[in-house]
């Protein structure tokens, strides 16, 4: 019932915002009508420019089975309570892997990524690595430039080297509701080149692929053609897990041999705020940690 009330409240807020009765610095309505800023292909090329100079990273895991922390949709808008709790939990877990994933929508509004960066700084200070991908809230208001200057790239791959296994992680930028043609071609090349050489292939991105319930509000997905195309691509090349956010509500779907996992949000004041700890080994297990 609470979630229904919350959804209704959110719907009413959006309806009022759409009516133009209030000024809005959280949503970019012009972006629904007119393409602005960099295209998906341009953002991809800019990520590739960074990758070409800095190369792809290799992270060491202490054991073949490791714990991967993943969170999404912090939508920081003033307070950072849930993010701070998450960072503390991660850093105090001695079994956690030395890297973690964030699936986008870091902040609301257009004030840049400074708050997010400062509150996740202890992760880097501890010698650990936060891998991010951009969500739609990280792109509109022309914020891709800001995202790039803070986080460098949104499309890339890295590998995790465990004592007797290697896992491949691929970050895709889907903040615009599409991969675009260049990133799609790059993805297939990477999968063709690398599948078979890794124990697990894990893809992480912002936009989710399926929607099995009413949880998603007013946000869009991939076009159906792209949904089927990518689901088939992942299946053909043996991708084990695709992790997304965007929906704000957890969902776990197995389709064509690929597990599609959607995370809850980590936004403050969300009733269902949680993050996930994935146990990565020969099999992948998911454990959601609710933040009360």
């Amino acid at each position: 019932m609470n979630s229904e009330r919350r959804d209704m409240k959110r719907f009413l807020i959006i309806a009022v915002l759409f009516s133009g009765l209030t000024a809005c610095d959280k949503y970019y309505f012009r972006g629904m009508i007119a393409p602005e800023g960099e295209t998906a292909n341009q953002r991809f090329e800019q990520s590739m420019e960074y990758n070409a100079i800095h190369g792809n990273e290799s992270v060491k895991a202490g054991s073949d089975n490791y714990l991967l922390y993943v969170f999404s949709d912090t939508h920081i808008d003033g307070s950072t309570n849930n993010l701070d709790r998450f960072v503390n939990a991660y850093l105090s877990d001695i079994q956690a892997s030395p890297f973690l994933l964030c699936l986008g929508d870091l902040e609301n509004g257009k004030d840049g990524f400074g708050t997010f960066t400062s509150h996740t700084a202890p992760i880097a200070d501890a010698g650990r690595r936060l891998f991010l991908t951009a969500g739609n809230h990280d792109l509109y208001f022309g914020r891709w430039k800001d995202f790039r200057s803070n986080f460098n790239a949104s499309t890339y791959w890295f590998e995790v080297v465990a004592p007797s296994a290697k896992d491949l992680y691929i970050s895709l930028e889907s903040g615009g509701g599409t991969l675009g043609t260049s990133q799609r071609a790059w993805l297939e090349n990477i999968l063709e080149e690398k599948s078979g050489a890794y124990r697990n292939i894990i893809v992480f991105t912002h936009t989710h692929f399926f929607m099995k319930d009413f949880s998603q509000g007013h946000t869009s997905n991939f076009a159906l053609e792209e949904t089927y195309d990518l689901a088939d691509l992942f299946s053909r090349y043996g991708v084990d897990l695709v992790i997304s956010g965007h929906d704000h509500y957890r969902e776990d779907t197995l389709f064509k041999g690929v597990e599609f996992l959607v995370l809850d949000c980590l936004e403050d004041n969300a009733d269902n705020a949680s993050y996930a700890i994935l146990s990565i080994g020969d099999n992948i297990k998911v454990n959601f940690i609710d933040i009360k």
């Binding site: 970019y28 739609n136 615009g176 599409t178 319930d213 159906l224 064509k256």
Partner: protein
């Protein structure tokens, strides 16, 4: 307030007339298809449609389409309709099957929607359910049922009365004869026809799909064009 009501009545009076359906007899339509989208790139196709009225109150439509992108689609729509002094109400009940054999996937859609069509304006809204099937028997995960119901909608306009020899219009929708997009993935279209004779008409439609509209970072995704002939018996 009175002025607004008066303007609404005037608007209705100038845009509505009694005749509402531009197909009174059975017909067969054959359309050639060319499209481009970011996933399939260039593709072509063939689209065949049949239409049979049953008296004044029922219609049956059957549609089939094959695309070079590796897609076969078919649908059947049964439509009870209720003529009114101005325009008519109708109820579309549709079964739609789409096999994306290139991707070893298929989907099955059941849809029901109410509509009200007039000469110049037509509005339609309802619900649909989509089940997604894995047709690759070697892969686990055979089926995804999308959310229990999603919304289907269509708002269209024409520039001339439906009895006109030629007409043109456009609108916004999230579905067509072969594809039911999710609610937050609207498609825009323009269409038109020209009656070459009493029984033969030339038809054309252009549909544009954008990606990320409700991500608020919209971009062009694809365009689909169809041109063909309708023969009315």
């Amino acid at each position: 307030m009175r002025k607004s009501i008066f303007l609404l009545i005037m608007l209705a009076g100038t845009t509505l007339s009694a005749r509402t359906n531009d197909s009174s007899g059975s017909s067969v339509t054959v359309l050639g298809n060319y499209g481009y989208n970011n996933t399939w790139r260039n593709y072509g196709g063939l689209d065949i449609r049949g239409f049979v009225p049953f008296g004044k109150h029922f219609e049956l439509k059957a549609d089939a389409e094959v695309l070079t992108a590796g897609v076969f689609s078919g649908s059947v729509t049964f439509t009870p309709k209720f003529p009114l002094p101005v325009g008519e109400l109708f109820l579309d009940g549709t079964l739609n099957y789409r096999n994306l054999f290139k991707y070893k996937s298929a989907e099955f859609v059941t849809a029901a929607s109410f509509g009200y069509r007039m000469d110049f304006v037509s509005v339609q809204a309802g619900l649909f359910y989509r089940g997604i099937f894995n047709t690759d028997r070697n892969a686990e995960g055979p089926y995804v049922g999308e959310k229990p119901v999603d919304m289907v909608y269509r708002v269209s306009f024409n520039v001339r009365p439906s009895t006109s020899r030629w007409n043109a219009g456009g609108g916004i929708t999230n579905y067509n004869e072969y594809e039911y997009e999710r609610m937050w993935q609207p498609m825009f279209f323009i269409d038109g026809h020209y009656d070459l004779s009493d029984s033969l008409s030339l038809l054309a439609t252009v549909q544009v799909k954008q990606s990320g509209m409700f991500h608020q970072i919209v971009s062009f995704y694809g365009i689909d064009t169809k041109v063909g002939l309708r023969y009315e018996f």
